[in-house]
Symmetry: C2
């Protein structure tokens, strides 16, 4: 197998929602209260919903943008690559990047729909979640069924409504739902209560994977406000470490034995250590804590229930037997700043030396197809799905990096504080 032969499914990309996404999708009584775009004082395109105004932060839409134009300013659609928000252009960018399939997380509702949880009118919010999911399933993913794994938003504020909604979208073929890596940080019950059981039970029954993206607790770790932004950005996988540890020591998987979860953008190279540590602690401490995992070690709970995801992670690939080769999945993270686009295949290939072909295929696409019950080969033959074939379809796509007309970055001591504020905007209810 050569790099040209890879078949790549990215289980973590992001859609910047287009301004017209709610048009005609809400009940008539709510249509004029739909989230909509307003202009900010410095020209940024902002989403307005009830009394909440939320920007498209520049750093979240930098595909094709020169790094010295990265930053935290609110951004206009006109300053983004159209592939961020236009599905036709997105697919062309995916092809130019050699990537067959993508699973796209939301942007303006935050990673798991925190925005709608904060609404004053929960009926309106429920209508918006449904409209968002219909748009995502029909107009975004549905426009190219051979290119997208559909992902739905949950109804965060009501586990029974969340169960209803996940069943509704599963009936439309959507087998992924985004959720919080730590609902306790959102002011909701933690994983150590049975509060979420109706929702997780519905996910398990409908074959829906619960995808927990880093940052979906509206929290990021850093060390001090004086630390440079690299400290906070480097530590994002720690959110997934906390989530894994939290989940394997909860009773969720004992109560719901077929539930499957994915740690989106969590990275993988740390997992063998964290699992080794959890097993060690469980064995050393359970006699006085009375924690009981029902006969399994924490690492076994992990391997039975949790899928791992990485962008560029040579250590994780090296440790793939300990991470779990049957649940590792690749990510491109388009159009975020950690993305490898348009050189995803090249970045991944560098880490695949010595990996057998069948294991490469698991990491690049077979595991994702199995996790999300998604078969792109139903409508597109495998030989038309390779890096080489897709890039041949998109030779006219300009992938060069060029100015987007954004403000040039300037040295500032307050970047970390600004970044933390942007992340935490989904916290208060």
């Amino acid at each position: 197998m050569d790099i040209e032969d890879l078949i790549l499914i990215s289980v973590d990309d992001h859609v910047i929602e287009p301004p017209d996404m709610f048009d005609g999708r809400l009940p008539q009584r709510y249509q004029d209260r739909a989230p909509h775009i307003v202009k900010g004082p410095d020209g940024g395109d902002l989403w307005a919903f009830e009394d909440i105004v939320t920007p498209n932060v520049g750093l979240n839409a930098v595909a094709g943008c020169p790094p010295d134009e990265y930053g935290l300013d609110p951004t206009q659609y006109a300053q983004m690559r159209p592939g961020c928000y236009d599905v036709r252009e997105r697919v062309r960018d995916m092809s130019a990047g050699g990537v067959l399939g993508g699973l796209n997380f939301p942007t303006f509702p935050q990673f798991c729909g925190q925005l709608f949880m904060r609404a004053k009118d929960s009926d309106l919010a429920l209508a918006c979640v449904r409209a968002y999911n219909d748009w995502h399933i029909e107009s975004w993913a549905g426009a190219y069924p051979d290119r997208f794994i559909a992902l739905s938003l949950p109804v965060l504020w009501d586990p029974q409504l969340a169960a209803d909604e996940v069943r509704r979208v599963a009936a439309k073929g959507c087998h992924a739902v985004t959720f919080s890596e730590n609902p306790a940080k959102l002011g909701l019950p933690s994983f150590h209560t049975p509060h979420w059981d109706p929702f997780f039970q519905a996910c398990a029954e409908a074959g829906v994977v619960v995808c927990m993206h880093i940052g979906s607790s509206s929290s990021m770790l850093t060390t001090s406000v004086e630390a440079p932004p690299e400290v906070m950005i480097s530590l994002t996988p720690v959110n997934s470490m906390l989530a894994v540890t939290d989940l394997v020591f909860s009773g969720i998987f004992t109560r719901i034995p077929t539930l499957q979860m994915a740690l989106s953008e969590g990275g993988t190279g740390w997992m063998p250590y964290i699992l080794e540590r959890a097993d060690y602690v469980y064995q050393h401490h359970r006699a006085w804590t009375f924690t009981d995992l029902g006969g399994r070690l924490p690492s076994q709970v992990f391997h039975d229930h949790i899928w791992s995801c990485f962008i560029d992670d040579p250590v994780g690939v090296k440790l793939r037997d300990d991470v779990g080769i049957d649940k590792m999945m690749w990510e491109m993270d388009y159009p975020h700043s950690d993305s490898t686009w348009p050189h995803g295949p090249e970045a991944l290939w560098k880490t695949l030396g010595g990996v057998p072909d069948d294991e490469i295929n698991k990491i690049t696409h077979r595991n994702a197809m199995r996790a999300f019950s998604w078969d792109p080969f139903a409508t597109r033959s495998a030989d038309r799905a390779t890096v080489a074939a897709l890039r041949a379809e998109a030779t006219d796509v300009d992938i060069s990096v060029k100015s987007m007309g954004r403000r040039k970055a300037e040295a500032s001591g307050s970047l970390t504080a600004t970044l933390a504020a942007a992340v935490s905007q989904g916290r208060e209810r």
Copy 2:
């Protein structure tokens, strides 16, 4: 090489300070204000200093104790193995455990002397820090110079006094000082200021390694108060991940190019991933953040300056080339609950399959001797320092686990909150 031939130096054990440690060690005017033992309402032996009363938490002195007597109650000396607080018995326990040398962190002053930082009378506190260090260097480590690497407390509230003290103890042969993994969490300036430069400069010049133990920020991570204690205990190495990330992105090592630090009880198996992540983030983001590490990648800064430490870490040993074989050191953690005593050699040996002898010797003792400028072989020949030789000297030591007469553990929903409160007691100034 066989398990019997290992020569083991543990760079992380703990002393439970004996009640008489300050006798005759303070200036006359302060002697009656020295920290001293008082009886708690339920019989626990507590340390009293100014208006602060701090317990010996049971979990911190469990060597030889059955796991169902582990817990968070204040403990009496009579309920501990004498090796916790009696240096003669400690050395016998070390021998019975096959261990040549130990570096012992403080207990009642907290991991880096937070207690004395909280004092109202800073002259008294300075006298206490000096008295503590003299006691540790002369009466504890000094009682068996071939068995202990001496460790001093810093003067946390004044970097110039801290520099003076580290020079004073270095002149007595003490080449390790304990410090906070994140001083910002203690209300002190962060690593991203030049505040600590006089102290770190003195450490570098005097060949003193700055040892940052997990928990020395008086902070532990958990996910929610409802999570079982295993979540918090499993996540302790995350403190070291935060510290590493913080340090490599600070300018400290550019300003003080010979400074050496150690991540005590941090574990090692996560390091290759965290370093890979830091390098990735630095390369992706520095154009807009203007962070400048002076020509080195974060991973290079790490390998040049930071020593790693582990208790039982098969993944770390497997990844030793990426962790850095020349700076990996072993730990026993006597008498804490994560300790492998008295079976440290057996636990370590299980992870050493396929490791060449010279690399085993680096991990077990050569690196520690080099880091701390400590040569036990000056007074004890290497053939008298092996697991077999030491155990042969201590055949009369009873290492069986037996009741210490403590209260049996009971299931409780508040263990995590109690644990968090115990950890955070050193925070408020």
